[in-house]
Amino acid sequence: MRAAVIGAGQLGIDLARRICGSPWLDCALVVGGPSSDRGLRLAAALGCAVSAAGLEAVTAADVDVVFDVSNASARHWADLVATGVVLLDLTPGSSGTMVAPTVNAASADSCWHLNLVSCGGQAVLPVLETIARHGGRDAVQYVEVVTTAAAASVGRHTRLNLDEYIATTQDAVRQIVLGGDAAPGAGPGAGHEAGHGAGHGAGHGVVKVLANLTPALPAPAFRAEVAVICPGVEERALRAELAAAAAAVRAFAPGYQIVACRVDGDLVRASVTVTATGARLPAYAGNVELINAAAVLLAERYATLRKP
């Protein structure tokens, strides 16, 4: 199946490498922006066709699946929707169907515009889904997510779009884990004031996300901490369920680990670290590996499902 990548920064080039390594996918094209000369040279060295001509090049290339790591996926989807391609959208704040492979991949099988949420979302959705399944999603009163990424692992788009990263991740937890509607109070920051009331029993289903970028050197691995207020969770049983959830993620992102889990009354905490494996990315950039590997896995799923 023919794939194109829009965006030739760190994420785009790593995606192109992964696509080139997939038995199901062929990286037919990498499209870069005005300042992506270096990225396009790297893509060309991988044997991919490259173009600086933007979306026109993509529509002309006759591809089946498009990975979008640019900052303009909304505009791109408007132009791609009629072409019959599947768009895997890695841009925070996009409008497609939100997917985490081990949590809800099947629910997206009939969708043409898939949204990979965020690297933090990919890290915590399997954990939160496990906790909510254990305790009952209606019993979840409050969810908090704190992610810490090495400064060197994120590019300009992530820095510019921290509000969207937060809003998208919060929406994904509400929709996928809590089965709620993202619309009411879904905007960035909307959870803050409501979240405040959670400790007073008023914040049913409130989700709050915080994001840190750390300048520490050597750069630490990507880390995500979740705190869930949910009565009736049994720590020993939850640990076993989380171990299984983590193993499922490791099938495509080997550096994914749940490193802590503890239950203290109604407060459930779990910690995730993600390292990048292999030589393609520095070890700390587990966030990049996780979201890119998830996107490639979903494209492979699409390729095998639609295989005649």
Binding site: V146, R159, A167, K208, P215, A216, A227, A260
Partner: protein, 345 residues
């Protein structure tokens, strides 16, 4: 007592210094973010009466930061803002917001509630995250400032580059926070001078007192060209506390700098802080000295002491390990990790 002049002098040795007062924001760290509306109103009225030009309010980590991770505030941001706004007649109301902890919507709500000075904060190498939010503050018509947190973690040149970048994004004042209380006066002098040379807007310095250097560092900052100095009543702030406002005002007065603050009234405001905000005096205890040397965020003091006590481990060892890992503000989850590892040793 010599009364301060009411007009700013233009001579370089007696420049005007703007005292920015984060007592009702940084002080939150010292009381687990539990300041209530009546306390805030009482201090804001006293600070306003003293002629303190900017009174900053919020959760200890700023707008939107109330959380299990960092600590839950006693009252919502909107109540803090409404309360303090009503108490101020002359002073501007300031807020602090770090992208990742808060969002643009928090800034919009704060400006709606009457915030006039909005500080957008980033860790020392991450000024790029402030671009959109500084633009938003300008668009909303408030004064946009940018501050670099944990500034001891990077070099002098990098700080100047990052501050210059923030000015390009629209910051009308830029500067550095000594979030860990790690600097000595010569460090501050070198950094402020480099930033002053790189930008054409007022430069900010925010000190912490872990090594008993906060007033001396602030004086060094003024001498190196800083125009905005943060100071808190009675030093009420994270860790060992901040630069003590009333002491700094007295020192600057003796140096011939004009702050526009009435010292007597500032002393009265500091008494209000001591009696109504603080549960104990700001003190340079052993933990504070050690965490300052280790370069750990001052706001970690309370959570580290609580976690170390519960686990029966030495808090100094926790700070040493957090320093080794270069933990930054917002990474309170690392405290539990480090305490857990120390307990197993």
């Amino acid at each position: 007592m010599q009364a301060p002049s009411t007009t700013p002098s233009t001579s370089p040795s007696s420049r005007r210094v703007v005292i920015h007062d984060p007592t009702l924001r940084d002080g939150q760290h010292a009381v687990g973010h539990r300041l209530g509306a009546a306390q805030m109103a009482a201090y804001a009225r006293a600070a306003d009466a003293a002629g303190i030009p900017v009174v900053e309010v919020g959760h200890g980590n700023g707008l939107g930061a109330s959380s299990l991770q960092i600590g839950r505030a006693a009252i919502p941001d909107s109540v803090m803002l409404t309360t303090v706004r009503q108490a101020l007649t002359r002073a501007q109301m300031g807020v602090f917001m770090a992208p990742g902890w808060g969002t643009g919507d928090d800034i919009r709500r704060a400006v709606d509630h009457g915030a006039e000075v909005v500080r957008v904060a980033a860790h020392c190498t991450e000024a790029a995250v402030t671009e959109r939010h500084l633009g938003l503050v300008r668009e909303l018509g408030a004064q946009a400032q940018a501050v670099l947190l944990m500034s001891h973690m990077t070099g002098v040149e990098q700080l100047a580059v990052q501050c210059a970048q923030a000015v390009c994004f629209g910051a009308q004042a830029v500067g550095i926070m000594d979030s860990a209380g790690h600097y000595l006066p010569a460090d501050v002098c070198e950094r402020i001078a480099a930033i002053c040379a790189a930008v054409d807007v007022p430069v900010i310095f925010h000190g912490h007192n872990n090594l008993s250097m906060a007033v001396a560092n602030s004086v060094a900052a003024v001498q190196a060209g800083a125009g905005v100095i943060d100071a808190c009543a009675r030093g009420f702030g994270a860790g060992a506390g901040n630069t003590q406002l009333e002491a700094l005002v007295a020192v600057l007065e003796r140096m011939g700098h004009w702050t526009g603050i009435d010292l007597r009234a500032a002393l009265a405001a500091a008494d209000v802080a001591e009696q109504q905000l603080m549960d104990r005096p700001a003190a340079i205890d052993s933990v504070a000295v050690f965490s300052g040397l280790a370069g750990v965020f001052s706001g970690f003091k309370r959570p580290v002491l609580a976690a170390a006590d519960a686990a029966g481990v030495d808090p100094l060892e926790v700070f040493a390990e957090l320093g080794r890992r270069q933990a930054v503000a917002g990474q309170e989850d690392l405290i539990g990790v480090v305490v857990g590892e120390l307990r197993q040793r």
